[in-house]
Amino acid sequence: MLETSTLYGLLGIILAALGLQAAILQRDAIRRILAINVLGVGVFLVFIATAYQGADTPPDAVPHALVLTGIVVAVAATALALGLQRRLEILDEDTDDE
């Protein structure tokens, strides 16, 4: 029988692979940011799957805390990337006007 943590761990790896592929192949900045976020969720899923120890035992709290940290770091990076992208749009518009 497939263990729950194995199932979700493998799901995490597949999601990370999907995100990685899109992050390399996409050319559009926002799509790349989206892809890196999906990649991040995949990696987080591996952590949380590792923490899960069956229906009756309390899960390992350390990976939970790590993923919480990771989520905040990811949103910070997303914000900075979108800020840069916005600046680029503005600068492009200025050069088009000239």
């Binding site: 990685l20 900045a29 940011i33 050069t95």
Partner: protein, 478 residues
Amino acid sequence: MNEAMALVIALPLLGGLIAVAWPQRSRCIGNLTLLLNAASAAWLLALVMQHGAANQLLGGWQPGLAIALHADALSSSFLLLTALVGLAISVYATRYFHSRQAATRFWPLWLLLVAALNGLFLSADLFNLYVTLELLGLSAVALTALGGKRESIKAALRYLMVGLLGSMGYLGGVAILYTAFGTLDMQLVGARISVSPASELALVLMTAGLLLKTALFPLHFWLPAAHSNAPAPVSAALSALVVKAGFYLVLRLWTEVFPEALSPQGAMLIGVLGCAAILWGSWRALQAERLKLLAAYSTVAQLGYLFVGLALLVSVDEGATRDILFGAVVLMAMTHGFAKSSLFLAIGVVQQHAGHDRIDQLDGTAQRLPATTFAIALAGVALIGLPPSGAFLGKWHLLSTSMEMGHWLLVLVMGIGSLLAAAYVFRVLGHAFGNVAFASRSVNAATEEWPALALGLIATLILGLGSAWLWQFLEVVA
């Protein structure tokens, strides 16, 4: 020792916070923080010298549960490098970012960058290292974007994406390691690790992620644009310190966590990539039309030497040769840190006075900016690896070990690399010393010129002459 470690981490962080809250005084706060940071890094180094390496378990919890800080000869050397280069960059940046708006934007981010570097060099916890890597990456990207031009923003965005992919690779490796070994502490993982698919894959993922951040050929594609389009003080920090952080981490992981899982083929691959980096980086540096681009490609090449050194290091058995190689690699990393920051700061001075950094229009620079030209020459001596610079001794030991081991190709590559480096350095100096008839009188701007000069002197003289001491320090303490 606990206090010194806490101080090294807390000072730049608190300085950054105060600089955010009190932007009117950000310049003073920044310089004062870097001054105190240099003092505390020196203090920590002295303590390590006296008492040997030390661990601190944050929060006082048991090993494994707590995040551990680890100060040894390697980390305290890199901390001192950061502190001294950081101080020089700060002095220069005080003049460079003279408008109030530029200053209030630069200083808090710069202090956070220093805090990230200090945290990274001290951390002995795999996940905590991820957080410091992200702090380093985001503040470095934000500083790159301060250039403001379209190219700077574009390079910053690319730098950010690449950095994120790199740290995700690293984090994926950490996830596998935690699944396999149930801990995040570097020493504990190192003790539990065995040769298995899990540890091999973790090694590959973490190394690949870090190599992407450290820009080892062919993963260097993002570096020239980012390093050459950032403001001069930021370029200096990126080339001298930020890429070193990735290298430092690979060095630590390979020698302390993964020695069991390393295979000769892996070391060989890194060595080959290092060779390719030396040749490609030097060749592109020779062809560069702008000084900053030259310096950026030279960083690609110099990183190649470090990785060649690392590859040699891990393929040598424990013993005297290995200790000497370790010292050589650290010495080269430090020399490059001082030399490259000196070069970038000097280029900044040239650029501000000439209004451009095109190499073929530099004639007369030596007459106008004698001190800065001298700094470029000093940095050049260290980059080529001429005596008495620290890089000379480092390269010498790399060469002699390669010869002993019969890696003649490596000897050849390093020889060609040095020749190419000499060529690109003399190409710059040739133009700089070219006389122009209507040379304006020489400029003497002390706070602008002396940081580069001081860094160049450290790279060529102090590190070269004091290298014996560094070897002893690394050997005795590590």
